[in-house]
Protein backbone atom coordinates (compact mmCIF):
# COMPACT_ATOMS: atom_id res chain seq x y z
CA UNK A 1 0.00 0.00 0.00
CA UNK A 2 2.79 2.41 0.86
CA UNK A 3 4.08 2.39 -2.69
CA UNK A 4 0.65 3.27 -3.98
CA UNK A 5 -0.19 6.14 -1.68
CA UNK A 6 1.42 9.47 -0.87
CA UNK A 7 4.14 10.79 1.34
CA UNK A 8 3.44 11.36 5.02
CA UNK A 9 2.10 14.80 6.02
CA UNK A 10 2.44 16.70 9.26
CA UNK A 11 -0.31 15.47 11.57
CA UNK A 12 -1.62 18.62 13.19
CA UNK A 13 -3.05 21.21 10.75
CA UNK A 14 -6.73 21.14 9.79
CA UNK A 15 -7.65 19.52 6.48
CA UNK A 16 -11.44 19.78 6.72
CA UNK A 17 -13.19 22.70 8.35
CA UNK A 18 -16.97 22.77 8.67
CA UNK A 19 -18.54 25.95 10.02
CA UNK A 20 -22.21 26.43 10.87
CA UNK A 21 -23.35 23.84 8.35
CA UNK A 22 -27.09 23.42 8.03
CA UNK A 23 -29.06 21.15 5.75
CA UNK A 24 -32.81 20.98 5.33
CA UNK A 25 -34.18 18.59 2.71
CA UNK A 26 -37.06 19.46 0.39
CA UNK A 27 -39.63 17.73 2.56
CA UNK A 28 -38.63 20.00 5.45
CA UNK A 29 -36.49 17.49 7.34
CA UNK A 30 -33.59 19.33 8.98
CA UNK A 31 -30.73 16.84 8.74
CA UNK A 32 -27.89 19.06 10.00
CA UNK A 33 -28.13 21.84 12.58
CA UNK A 34 -25.19 24.23 12.58
CA UNK A 35 -22.37 21.70 12.49
CA UNK A 36 -18.88 22.95 13.43
CA UNK A 37 -16.13 20.44 12.91
CA UNK A 38 -12.39 20.39 12.23
CA UNK A 39 -10.63 17.27 10.99
CA UNK A 40 -6.86 17.29 11.30
CA UNK A 41 -4.51 16.25 8.56
CA UNK A 42 -3.34 12.66 8.81
CA UNK A 43 -5.72 11.53 11.55
CA UNK A 44 -8.36 8.83 11.68
CA UNK A 45 -11.56 10.56 12.71
CA UNK A 46 -14.54 8.41 13.65
CA UNK A 47 -17.97 9.95 13.21
CA UNK A 48 -20.45 8.06 15.32
CA UNK A 49 -24.17 8.39 15.55
CA UNK A 50 -27.39 6.38 15.42
CA UNK A 51 -29.25 5.82 12.16
CA UNK A 52 -30.61 9.06 10.72
CA UNK A 53 -28.29 11.20 12.86
CA UNK A 54 -26.89 13.06 9.85
CA UNK A 55 -23.57 11.25 9.30
CA UNK A 56 -24.15 10.37 5.66
CA UNK A 57 -25.65 13.81 4.92
CA UNK A 58 -22.54 15.49 6.33
CA UNK A 59 -20.21 13.22 4.33
CA UNK A 60 -22.32 13.60 1.18
CA UNK A 61 -22.18 17.40 1.39
CA UNK A 62 -18.41 17.45 1.81
CA UNK A 63 -18.04 15.06 -1.14
CA UNK A 64 -20.39 17.05 -3.41
CA UNK A 65 -23.21 14.50 -3.61
CA UNK A 66 -25.74 16.57 -1.68
CA UNK A 67 -26.17 20.34 -2.01
CA UNK A 68 -25.13 22.18 1.15
CA UNK A 69 -27.46 24.51 3.04
CA UNK A 70 -26.14 27.43 5.07
CA UNK A 71 -22.59 27.38 6.38
CA UNK A 72 -19.19 26.73 4.86
CA UNK A 73 -17.00 23.71 4.28
CA UNK A 74 -13.36 23.88 3.24
CA UNK A 75 -11.12 20.99 2.28
CA UNK A 76 -7.41 21.69 2.42
CA UNK A 77 -8.27 25.40 2.48
CA UNK A 78 -10.55 25.25 -0.58
CA UNK A 79 -14.26 26.04 -0.38
CA UNK A 80 -16.38 23.07 -1.54
CA UNK A 81 -18.80 25.36 -3.43
CA UNK A 82 -16.48 27.90 -5.04
CA UNK A 83 -13.51 25.57 -5.55
CA UNK A 84 -15.43 22.31 -5.97
CA UNK A 85 -13.11 20.96 -8.65
CA UNK A 86 -10.08 21.26 -6.38
CA UNK A 87 -11.77 19.78 -3.30
CA UNK A 88 -13.26 16.84 -5.18
CA UNK A 89 -9.85 15.93 -6.56
CA UNK A 90 -8.55 15.66 -3.00
CA UNK A 91 -11.38 13.48 -1.68
CA UNK A 92 -12.09 9.77 -2.09
CA UNK A 93 -15.35 8.21 -0.94
CA UNK A 94 -16.33 4.65 -0.10
CA UNK A 95 -20.13 4.80 0.26
CA UNK A 96 -22.12 2.73 2.68
CA UNK A 97 -23.89 0.64 0.07
CA UNK A 98 -22.22 -1.55 -2.53
CA UNK A 99 -22.83 0.50 -5.63
CA UNK A 100 -20.90 -0.96 -8.51
CA UNK A 101 -21.21 -1.53 -12.23
CA UNK A 102 -22.06 -5.20 -12.00
CA UNK A 103 -21.21 -6.04 -15.61
CA UNK A 104 -17.87 -4.26 -15.67
CA UNK A 105 -14.52 -5.86 -14.85
CA UNK A 106 -12.57 -4.85 -11.76
CA UNK A 107 -9.74 -3.40 -13.85
CA UNK A 108 -12.02 -1.35 -16.09
CA UNK A 109 -14.07 0.05 -13.26
CA UNK A 110 -10.97 1.18 -11.37
CA UNK A 111 -9.53 2.78 -14.51
CA UNK A 112 -12.90 4.47 -15.08
CA UNK A 113 -12.85 5.95 -11.57
CA UNK A 114 -9.32 7.29 -12.00
CA UNK A 115 -10.26 8.96 -15.27
CA UNK A 116 -13.45 10.38 -13.80
CA UNK A 117 -11.40 12.21 -11.20
CA UNK A 118 -9.26 13.80 -13.88
CA UNK A 119 -6.14 11.69 -13.51
CA UNK A 120 -4.15 10.41 -16.49
CA UNK A 121 -3.99 6.62 -16.79
CA UNK A 122 -1.36 5.06 -14.53
CA UNK A 123 -1.58 1.32 -14.85
CA UNK A 124 1.45 0.73 -12.62
CA UNK A 125 -0.23 2.57 -9.73
CA UNK A 126 -3.53 0.76 -10.26
CA UNK A 127 -1.76 -2.60 -10.43
CA UNK A 128 -0.07 -1.90 -7.09
CA UNK A 129 -3.37 -0.73 -5.61
CA UNK A 130 -5.17 -3.90 -6.68
CA UNK A 131 -2.32 -6.02 -5.36
CA UNK A 132 -2.46 -4.19 -2.02
CA UNK A 133 -6.17 -4.94 -1.82
CA UNK A 134 -5.72 -8.57 -2.91
CA UNK A 135 -7.73 -7.87 -6.04
CA UNK A 136 -5.06 -8.33 -8.69
CA UNK A 137 -6.04 -11.96 -9.37
CA UNK A 138 -9.61 -10.79 -9.89
CA UNK A 139 -8.80 -7.89 -12.19
CA UNK A 140 -10.53 -9.43 -15.21
CA UNK A 141 -13.51 -10.77 -13.26
CA UNK A 142 -16.86 -9.10 -13.66
CA UNK A 143 -17.89 -7.39 -10.42
CA UNK A 144 -21.13 -9.36 -10.58
CA UNK A 145 -19.16 -12.53 -9.92
CA UNK A 146 -17.36 -11.28 -6.81
CA UNK A 147 -18.28 -11.97 -3.19
CA UNK A 148 -19.62 -9.15 -1.00
CA UNK A 149 -16.25 -8.72 0.66
CA UNK A 150 -14.47 -8.51 -2.66
CA UNK A 151 -16.99 -5.96 -3.90
CA UNK A 152 -16.26 -3.89 -0.82
CA UNK A 153 -12.56 -4.01 -1.72
CA UNK A 154 -13.42 -2.88 -5.23
CA UNK A 155 -15.25 0.11 -3.74
CA UNK A 156 -12.13 0.99 -1.79
CA UNK A 157 -9.94 0.55 -4.88
CA UNK A 158 -12.22 2.89 -6.83
CA UNK A 159 -12.06 5.48 -4.05
CA UNK A 160 -8.26 5.28 -3.95
CA UNK A 161 -7.76 5.13 -7.70
CA UNK A 162 -7.14 8.87 -8.02
CA UNK A 163 -4.76 9.01 -5.04
CA UNK A 164 -6.90 11.12 -2.70
CA UNK A 165 -5.39 12.61 0.45
CA UNK A 166 -8.71 12.60 2.29
CA UNK A 167 -10.70 9.37 2.40
CA UNK A 168 -14.27 8.98 3.61
CA UNK A 169 -15.30 5.50 4.65
CA UNK A 170 -19.04 5.32 5.28
CA UNK A 171 -19.71 2.09 7.18
CA UNK A 172 -16.92 0.28 5.34
CA UNK A 173 -17.17 -2.98 7.26
CA UNK A 174 -20.95 -3.36 7.25
CA UNK A 175 -21.74 -6.95 6.29
CA UNK A 176 -18.08 -7.92 6.06
CA UNK A 177 -16.77 -11.08 7.76
CA UNK A 178 -14.34 -10.85 10.67
CA UNK A 179 -11.22 -11.78 8.72
CA UNK A 180 -11.85 -9.28 5.94
CA UNK A 181 -12.75 -6.64 8.49
CA UNK A 182 -9.37 -7.09 10.14
CA UNK A 183 -7.65 -6.88 6.74
CA UNK A 184 -9.52 -3.69 5.98
CA UNK A 185 -8.57 -2.04 9.23
CA UNK A 186 -4.95 -3.01 8.65
CA UNK A 187 -5.24 -1.33 5.28
CA UNK A 188 -6.76 1.77 6.87
CA UNK A 189 -3.81 1.96 9.26
CA UNK A 190 -1.37 1.68 6.37
CA UNK A 191 -3.21 4.46 4.56
CA UNK A 192 -2.98 6.69 7.59
CA UNK A 193 0.73 5.94 7.88
CA UNK A 194 1.13 7.06 4.28
CA UNK A 195 -0.47 10.43 5.12
CA UNK A 196 -4.09 9.96 4.10
CA UNK A 197 -6.65 11.57 6.41
CA UNK A 198 -9.45 9.12 7.11
CA UNK A 199 -12.96 9.96 8.23
CA UNK A 200 -15.04 6.91 8.99
CA UNK A 201 -18.46 6.10 10.24
CA UNK A 202 -19.12 2.72 11.73
CA UNK A 203 -21.70 0.89 13.74
CA UNK A 204 -18.96 -1.31 15.20
CA UNK A 205 -17.96 1.13 17.90
CA UNK A 206 -15.24 -1.16 19.18
CA UNK A 207 -13.56 -0.55 15.84
CA UNK A 208 -13.65 3.20 16.36
CA UNK A 209 -12.30 2.56 19.84
CA UNK A 210 -9.49 0.54 18.37
CA UNK A 211 -8.71 2.70 15.34
CA UNK A 212 -9.65 6.33 15.77
CA UNK A 213 -7.46 9.17 16.99
CA UNK A 214 -10.49 11.37 17.58
CA UNK A 215 -14.19 10.76 17.82
CA UNK A 216 -17.21 12.90 17.00
CA UNK A 217 -20.70 11.94 18.07
CA UNK A 218 -23.61 13.28 16.05
CA UNK A 219 -27.27 12.90 16.94
CA UNK A 220 -30.36 14.44 15.36
CA UNK A 221 -28.19 16.67 13.17
CA UNK A 222 -26.15 18.08 16.02
CA UNK A 223 -22.55 17.34 16.88
CA UNK A 224 -22.76 16.46 20.57
CA UNK A 225 -19.08 15.99 21.23
CA UNK A 226 -15.74 15.99 19.43
CA UNK A 227 -12.77 14.77 21.40
CA UNK A 228 -9.56 12.80 21.43
CA UNK A 229 -10.74 9.23 21.81
CA UNK A 230 -8.60 8.51 24.87
CA UNK A 231 -9.58 11.79 26.54
CA UNK A 232 -13.25 11.06 25.86
CA UNK A 233 -13.00 7.62 27.36
CA UNK A 234 -11.17 8.94 30.39
CA UNK A 235 -13.50 11.86 30.86
CA UNK A 236 -16.82 10.18 30.29
CA UNK A 237 -15.96 6.55 30.87
CA UNK A 238 -16.87 5.23 34.29
CA UNK A 239 -14.66 2.63 35.90
CA UNK A 240 -15.91 -0.15 38.09
CA UNK A 241 -14.26 -2.22 40.80
CA UNK A 242 -15.87 -5.61 41.29
CA UNK A 243 -15.24 -7.55 44.48
CA UNK A 244 -16.21 -11.21 44.56
CA UNK A 245 -17.24 -12.10 48.09
CA UNK A 246 -16.42 -15.29 50.04
CA UNK A 247 -20.12 -15.75 50.66
CA UNK A 248 -23.30 -13.91 49.72
CA UNK A 249 -24.56 -11.18 52.03
CA UNK A 250 -28.17 -10.19 52.73
CA UNK A 251 -27.57 -6.44 52.40
CA UNK A 252 -24.86 -3.82 52.46
CA UNK A 253 -24.01 -2.28 55.84
CA UNK A 254 -25.22 1.32 56.30
CA UNK A 255 -21.65 2.36 57.09
CA UNK A 256 -20.84 1.86 53.40
CA UNK A 257 -23.69 4.04 52.05
CA UNK A 258 -21.36 6.85 51.01
CA UNK A 259 -19.71 4.57 48.45
CA UNK A 260 -23.01 3.99 46.58
CA UNK A 261 -22.20 0.33 46.18
CA UNK A 262 -24.30 -2.15 44.25
CA UNK A 263 -24.84 -5.82 44.87
CA UNK A 264 -25.20 -8.20 41.98
CA UNK A 265 -28.21 -10.50 41.59
CA UNK A 266 -26.63 -13.40 43.50
CA UNK A 267 -25.60 -10.94 46.19
CA UNK A 268 -22.05 -12.33 46.11
CA UNK A 269 -20.42 -9.45 44.25
CA UNK A 270 -20.04 -5.80 45.23
CA UNK A 271 -19.74 -3.26 42.42
CA UNK A 272 -18.07 0.09 43.13
CA UNK A 273 -18.23 2.76 40.41
CA UNK A 274 -15.59 5.47 40.69
CA UNK A 275 -14.39 8.51 38.83
CA UNK A 276 -11.03 8.10 37.15
CA UNK A 277 -10.61 11.87 36.93
CA UNK A 278 -10.82 12.60 40.65
CA UNK A 279 -7.65 12.80 42.77
CA UNK A 280 -8.72 9.94 45.00
CA UNK A 281 -10.64 6.96 43.78
CA UNK A 282 -11.69 5.91 47.30
CA UNK A 283 -10.62 2.33 46.72
CA UNK A 284 -8.20 2.18 49.65
CA UNK A 285 -10.79 3.56 52.03
CA UNK A 286 -13.44 1.19 50.71
CA UNK A 287 -11.25 -1.87 51.24
CA UNK A 288 -10.51 -0.72 54.78
CA UNK A 289 -14.19 -0.15 55.55
CA UNK A 290 -15.17 -3.52 54.09
CA UNK A 291 -12.63 -5.21 56.33
CA UNK A 292 -13.97 -3.27 59.31
CA UNK A 293 -17.50 -4.42 58.44
CA UNK A 294 -16.30 -8.03 58.35
CA UNK A 295 -16.92 -8.52 54.65
CA UNK A 296 -14.20 -10.61 53.03
CA UNK A 297 -13.61 -11.06 49.32
CA UNK A 298 -11.76 -13.72 47.36
CA UNK A 299 -11.12 -11.88 44.09
CA UNK A 300 -11.33 -8.43 42.50
CA UNK A 301 -11.35 -6.96 39.02
CA UNK A 302 -11.76 -3.56 37.37
CA UNK A 303 -13.66 -2.68 34.21
CA UNK A 304 -13.83 0.55 32.19
CA UNK A 305 -16.78 1.67 30.08
CA UNK A 306 -16.33 0.94 26.41
CA UNK A 307 -16.65 3.68 23.81
CA UNK A 308 -19.93 2.01 22.92
CA UNK A 309 -21.34 2.59 26.41
CA UNK A 310 -20.15 6.20 26.33
CA UNK A 311 -21.76 6.61 22.91
CA UNK A 312 -25.06 5.15 24.10
CA UNK A 313 -25.04 7.43 27.18
CA UNK A 314 -24.26 10.51 25.10
CA UNK A 315 -26.99 9.80 22.57
CA UNK A 316 -29.48 9.07 25.34
CA UNK A 317 -28.63 12.31 27.14
CA UNK A 318 -29.01 14.37 23.95
CA UNK A 319 -32.33 12.78 23.01
Amino acid sequence: MNKAIHPVHAASDPVIEVRGLDKTYEGGFRALKGIDLTVRRGEIFALLGPNGAGKTTLISIICGIVNPGNGTVTVDGHDIVREWRKTRTIIGLVPQELKTDAFESVWNTVRFSRGLFGKAPDDAYLEQLLKDLSLWDKRDAKILMLSGGMKRRVMIAKALSHQPTVLFLDEPTAGVDVELRRDMWAMVRRLRESGVTIILTTHYIEEAEDMADRVGVINKGELIVVSEKNALMQKLGKKQLRLQLHEPIASLPEALNDYRLELNGKRDEIIYTYDTQSERTGITALLKDLSAAGIGFKDLSTRQDSLEQIFVDLVRESA
Binding site: Y25, E26, S60, C63, G64, I65, V66, N67, W84, R85, K86, R88, T89, I91, L93, P95, E97, K99, T100, D101, A102, F103, E104, N108, R111, F112, S113, R114, G115, L116, F117, G118, K119, A120, K158
Partner: protein
Protein backbone atom coordinates in the same frame (compact mmCIF):
# COMPACT_ATOMS: atom_id res chain seq x y z
CA UNK B 1 -11.46 21.17 -18.19
CA UNK B 2 -11.52 17.55 -17.01
CA UNK B 3 -10.77 15.85 -20.33
CA UNK B 4 -9.83 12.58 -18.64
CA UNK B 5 -13.26 12.59 -16.97
CA UNK B 6 -15.12 13.19 -20.23
CA UNK B 7 -13.06 10.46 -21.91
CA UNK B 8 -13.76 8.05 -19.03
CA UNK B 9 -17.55 8.49 -19.34
CA UNK B 10 -17.40 8.35 -23.14
CA UNK B 11 -15.29 5.19 -23.20
CA UNK B 12 -17.41 3.56 -20.51
CA UNK B 13 -20.59 4.19 -22.47
CA UNK B 14 -19.05 3.03 -25.74
CA UNK B 15 -17.80 -0.13 -24.02
CA UNK B 16 -21.37 -0.85 -22.90
CA UNK B 17 -22.37 -0.85 -26.56
CA UNK B 18 -19.67 -3.41 -27.23
CA UNK B 19 -21.09 -5.64 -24.52
CA UNK B 20 -24.61 -5.36 -25.94
CA UNK B 21 -23.73 -5.52 -29.63
CA UNK B 22 -26.83 -7.51 -30.58
CA UNK B 23 -29.18 -5.01 -28.99
CA UNK B 24 -27.23 -1.89 -29.93
CA UNK B 25 -26.28 -2.50 -33.54
CA UNK B 26 -27.71 -5.69 -35.01
CA UNK B 27 -31.26 -5.05 -33.83
CA UNK B 28 -31.72 -1.72 -35.69
CA UNK B 29 -30.05 -3.16 -38.78
CA UNK B 30 -32.43 -6.14 -38.83
CA UNK B 31 -35.51 -3.98 -38.26
CA UNK B 32 -34.43 -1.56 -41.01
CA UNK B 33 -33.91 -4.46 -43.39
CA UNK B 34 -37.43 -5.62 -42.58
CA UNK B 35 -38.74 -2.12 -43.33
CA UNK B 36 -37.06 -2.26 -46.73
CA UNK B 37 -38.48 -5.67 -47.47
CA UNK B 38 -42.03 -4.89 -46.28
CA UNK B 39 -42.38 -1.27 -47.44
CA UNK B 40 -40.41 -2.03 -50.59
CA UNK B 41 -42.97 -4.68 -51.43
CA UNK B 42 -45.95 -2.52 -50.47
CA UNK B 43 -44.48 0.48 -52.20
CA UNK B 44 -43.80 -1.39 -55.40
CA UNK B 45 -47.10 0.05 -56.62
CA UNK B 46 -45.75 3.53 -56.10
CA UNK B 47 -43.50 4.22 -59.07
CA UNK B 48 -41.67 7.19 -57.59
CA UNK B 49 -42.15 10.25 -55.42
CA UNK B 50 -41.02 13.56 -56.89
CA UNK B 51 -38.83 11.67 -59.33
CA UNK B 52 -37.20 9.37 -56.71
CA UNK B 53 -37.84 5.62 -56.61
CA UNK B 54 -39.93 4.69 -53.54
CA UNK B 55 -37.32 2.41 -51.93
CA UNK B 56 -34.63 5.07 -52.34
CA UNK B 57 -37.13 7.66 -51.04
CA UNK B 58 -37.49 5.60 -47.83
CA UNK B 59 -33.78 5.66 -46.96
CA UNK B 60 -33.49 9.11 -45.28
CA UNK B 61 -36.71 8.50 -43.31
CA UNK B 62 -35.59 5.09 -42.11
CA UNK B 63 -32.15 6.39 -41.13
CA UNK B 64 -33.78 9.29 -39.28
CA UNK B 65 -36.18 6.88 -37.52
CA UNK B 66 -33.22 4.87 -36.23
CA UNK B 67 -31.21 7.99 -35.35
CA UNK B 68 -34.02 9.36 -33.20
CA UNK B 69 -34.75 6.08 -31.44
CA UNK B 70 -31.08 5.26 -30.89
CA UNK B 71 -30.18 8.74 -29.66
CA UNK B 72 -33.04 8.86 -27.18
CA UNK B 73 -32.68 5.30 -25.89
CA UNK B 74 -28.87 5.37 -25.63
CA UNK B 75 -28.75 8.66 -23.77
CA UNK B 76 -31.71 7.97 -21.50
CA UNK B 77 -30.41 4.53 -20.51
CA UNK B 78 -26.86 5.87 -20.15
CA UNK B 79 -27.81 8.28 -17.37
CA UNK B 80 -30.72 6.30 -15.93
CA UNK B 81 -28.73 3.12 -15.26
CA UNK B 82 -26.16 4.72 -12.90
CA UNK B 83 -29.09 6.40 -11.13
CA UNK B 84 -30.84 3.03 -10.86
CA UNK B 85 -27.84 1.08 -9.51
CA UNK B 86 -26.55 3.98 -7.42
CA UNK B 87 -23.20 4.49 -9.15
CA UNK B 88 -24.21 8.06 -10.00
CA UNK B 89 -22.66 9.05 -6.64
CA UNK B 90 -19.25 8.70 -8.26
CA UNK B 91 -20.10 11.12 -11.07
CA UNK B 92 -21.47 13.65 -8.57
CA UNK B 93 -18.42 13.42 -6.34
CA UNK B 94 -15.95 13.68 -9.25
CA UNK B 95 -14.41 17.00 -10.30
CA UNK B 96 -16.66 17.19 -13.36
CA UNK B 97 -18.71 20.19 -14.46
CA UNK B 98 -22.24 19.65 -15.72
CA UNK B 99 -21.09 20.45 -19.23
CA UNK B 100 -18.39 17.77 -18.98
CA UNK B 101 -20.87 15.17 -17.70
CA UNK B 102 -23.30 15.94 -20.52
CA UNK B 103 -20.51 15.93 -23.10
CA UNK B 104 -19.46 12.44 -22.00
CA UNK B 105 -22.90 10.86 -21.92
CA UNK B 106 -24.47 12.72 -24.86
CA UNK B 107 -21.30 12.43 -26.94
CA UNK B 108 -21.31 8.65 -26.54
CA UNK B 109 -25.05 8.35 -27.23
CA UNK B 110 -24.77 10.51 -30.36
CA UNK B 111 -21.72 8.56 -31.57
CA UNK B 112 -23.54 5.26 -31.19
CA UNK B 113 -26.58 6.62 -33.02
CA UNK B 114 -24.42 7.92 -35.88
CA UNK B 115 -22.64 4.56 -36.16
CA UNK B 116 -26.02 2.80 -36.36
CA UNK B 117 -27.20 5.37 -38.93
CA UNK B 118 -24.14 4.77 -41.09
CA UNK B 119 -24.55 0.99 -40.82
CA UNK B 120 -28.16 1.38 -41.97
CA UNK B 121 -27.01 3.50 -44.89
CA UNK B 122 -24.53 0.77 -45.81
CA UNK B 123 -27.25 -1.89 -45.43
CA UNK B 124 -29.57 0.14 -47.68
CA UNK B 125 -26.93 0.03 -50.38
CA UNK B 126 -27.56 -3.70 -50.64
CA UNK B 127 -31.19 -3.05 -51.60
CA UNK B 128 -31.09 0.10 -53.65
CA UNK B 129 -28.75 2.54 -55.33
CA UNK B 130 -28.87 6.06 -53.89
CA UNK B 131 -26.74 9.17 -53.97
CA UNK B 132 -26.11 11.97 -51.49
CA UNK B 133 -26.45 15.36 -53.20
CA UNK B 134 -25.22 17.46 -50.28
CA UNK B 135 -22.90 15.37 -48.06
CA UNK B 136 -22.00 18.34 -45.85
CA UNK B 137 -25.63 19.11 -45.05
CA UNK B 138 -26.27 15.39 -44.54
CA UNK B 139 -23.50 15.25 -41.91
CA UNK B 140 -24.84 18.47 -40.35
CA UNK B 141 -28.31 16.97 -39.95
CA UNK B 142 -26.82 13.70 -38.71
CA UNK B 143 -24.88 15.50 -35.98
CA UNK B 144 -27.55 18.06 -35.03
CA UNK B 145 -30.28 15.42 -34.83
CA UNK B 146 -28.30 12.89 -32.82
CA UNK B 147 -26.97 15.52 -30.41
CA UNK B 148 -30.40 17.15 -30.02
CA UNK B 149 -32.23 13.89 -29.41
CA UNK B 150 -29.46 12.54 -27.20
CA UNK B 151 -29.93 15.64 -25.04
CA UNK B 152 -33.65 14.92 -25.07
CA UNK B 153 -32.94 11.30 -24.08
CA UNK B 154 -30.64 12.54 -21.30
CA UNK B 155 -33.53 14.60 -19.90
CA UNK B 156 -35.84 11.56 -20.08
CA UNK B 157 -33.22 9.46 -18.26
CA UNK B 158 -33.04 12.00 -15.45
CA UNK B 159 -36.82 12.37 -15.29
CA UNK B 160 -37.55 8.63 -15.28
CA UNK B 161 -37.72 6.86 -11.96
CA UNK B 162 -38.55 3.44 -13.37
CA UNK B 163 -37.89 1.45 -16.54
CA UNK B 164 -41.46 1.92 -17.77
CA UNK B 165 -41.09 5.69 -17.90
CA UNK B 166 -37.83 5.20 -19.74
CA UNK B 167 -39.73 3.45 -22.52
CA UNK B 168 -42.85 5.60 -22.55
CA UNK B 169 -41.51 8.66 -24.38
CA UNK B 170 -39.67 6.79 -27.18
CA UNK B 171 -42.61 4.45 -27.78
CA UNK B 172 -45.53 6.80 -27.22
CA UNK B 173 -44.13 10.03 -28.63
CA UNK B 174 -40.99 9.59 -30.75
CA UNK B 175 -42.22 6.60 -32.77
CA UNK B 176 -45.63 8.09 -33.71
CA UNK B 177 -44.08 11.47 -34.54
CA UNK B 178 -41.49 9.78 -36.77
CA UNK B 179 -44.02 7.56 -38.53
CA UNK B 180 -46.30 10.58 -39.07
CA UNK B 181 -43.39 12.88 -39.93
CA UNK B 182 -42.92 11.80 -43.51
CA UNK B 183 -40.58 8.83 -43.06
CA UNK B 184 -42.55 6.75 -45.52
CA UNK B 185 -44.32 9.39 -47.61
CA UNK B 186 -44.07 12.94 -48.81
CA UNK B 187 -46.08 15.50 -46.87
CA UNK B 188 -47.36 16.71 -50.24
CA UNK B 189 -49.22 13.39 -50.62
CA UNK B 190 -51.50 14.32 -47.66
CA UNK B 191 -54.82 16.21 -47.99
CA UNK B 192 -54.30 20.01 -47.64
CA UNK B 193 -55.66 20.11 -44.05
CA UNK B 194 -53.30 17.38 -42.81
CA UNK B 195 -50.42 19.02 -44.67
CA UNK B 196 -50.91 22.04 -42.37
CA UNK B 197 -51.41 19.93 -39.22
CA UNK B 198 -48.30 17.91 -39.89
CA UNK B 199 -46.16 21.06 -39.80
CA UNK B 200 -46.64 21.05 -36.00
CA UNK B 201 -44.67 17.81 -35.91
CA UNK B 202 -40.99 18.75 -35.34
CA UNK B 203 -39.78 15.49 -36.89
CA UNK B 204 -41.16 16.63 -40.28
CA UNK B 205 -38.42 19.27 -40.44
CA UNK B 206 -35.68 16.77 -39.59
CA UNK B 207 -36.76 14.23 -42.20
CA UNK B 208 -37.43 16.85 -44.83
CA UNK B 209 -34.02 18.47 -44.37
CA UNK B 210 -32.25 15.13 -44.24
CA UNK B 211 -34.00 13.94 -47.39
CA UNK B 212 -33.08 17.19 -49.13
CA UNK B 213 -29.40 16.47 -48.42
CA UNK B 214 -29.84 13.18 -50.36
CA UNK B 215 -32.10 14.00 -53.26
CA UNK B 216 -32.55 17.78 -53.36
CA UNK B 217 -36.28 17.39 -52.62
CA UNK B 218 -37.97 18.68 -49.48
CA UNK B 219 -41.40 19.09 -47.89
CA UNK B 220 -40.18 22.22 -46.08
CA UNK B 221 -37.52 24.73 -47.05
CA UNK B 222 -34.14 23.37 -45.93
CA UNK B 223 -33.29 26.64 -44.16
CA UNK B 224 -36.42 26.28 -42.02
CA UNK B 225 -35.50 22.65 -41.35
CA UNK B 226 -32.04 23.64 -40.11
CA UNK B 227 -33.56 26.43 -38.01
CA UNK B 228 -36.14 24.09 -36.46
CA UNK B 229 -33.45 21.49 -35.68
CA UNK B 230 -31.25 24.14 -34.06
CA UNK B 231 -34.24 25.40 -32.07
CA UNK B 232 -34.91 21.89 -30.75
CA UNK B 233 -31.22 21.54 -29.89
CA UNK B 234 -31.25 24.85 -28.01
CA UNK B 235 -34.45 23.86 -26.19
CA UNK B 236 -32.92 20.60 -24.99
CA UNK B 237 -29.68 22.34 -23.98
CA UNK B 238 -31.71 24.80 -21.92
CA UNK B 239 -33.55 21.90 -20.28
CA UNK B 240 -30.30 20.13 -19.39
CA UNK B 241 -28.79 23.39 -18.10
CA UNK B 242 -31.82 23.96 -15.87
CA UNK B 243 -31.68 20.39 -14.52
CA UNK B 244 -28.06 20.72 -13.51
CA UNK B 245 -28.51 24.23 -12.14
CA UNK B 246 -31.33 23.11 -9.86
CA UNK B 247 -30.17 19.53 -9.28
CA UNK B 248 -33.69 18.36 -10.25
CA UNK B 249 -33.95 14.59 -9.69
CA UNK B 250 -30.17 14.43 -9.37
CA UNK B 251 -29.13 15.99 -6.08
CA UNK B 252 -30.93 16.38 -2.77
Amino acid sequence: MNLHGIRAIYKFEMARTGRTLMQSVLSPVISTTLYFVVFGAIGSGIRNIEGIGYTAFLIPGLVMLSLLMQSVSNASFGIYFPKFVGTIYEVHSAPLSYLEIVTGYVGAAATKAIIVGLIILATARVFVHYSIAHPGVMVLFLVMTTVGFSLFGFIIGIWADNFEKLQVVPLMIITPLTFLGGSFYSVHMLPPFWQKVTLFNPVVYLISGFRWSFYDIADVNVGISIGATLFFLALCLTGVWWIFRTGWRLKA
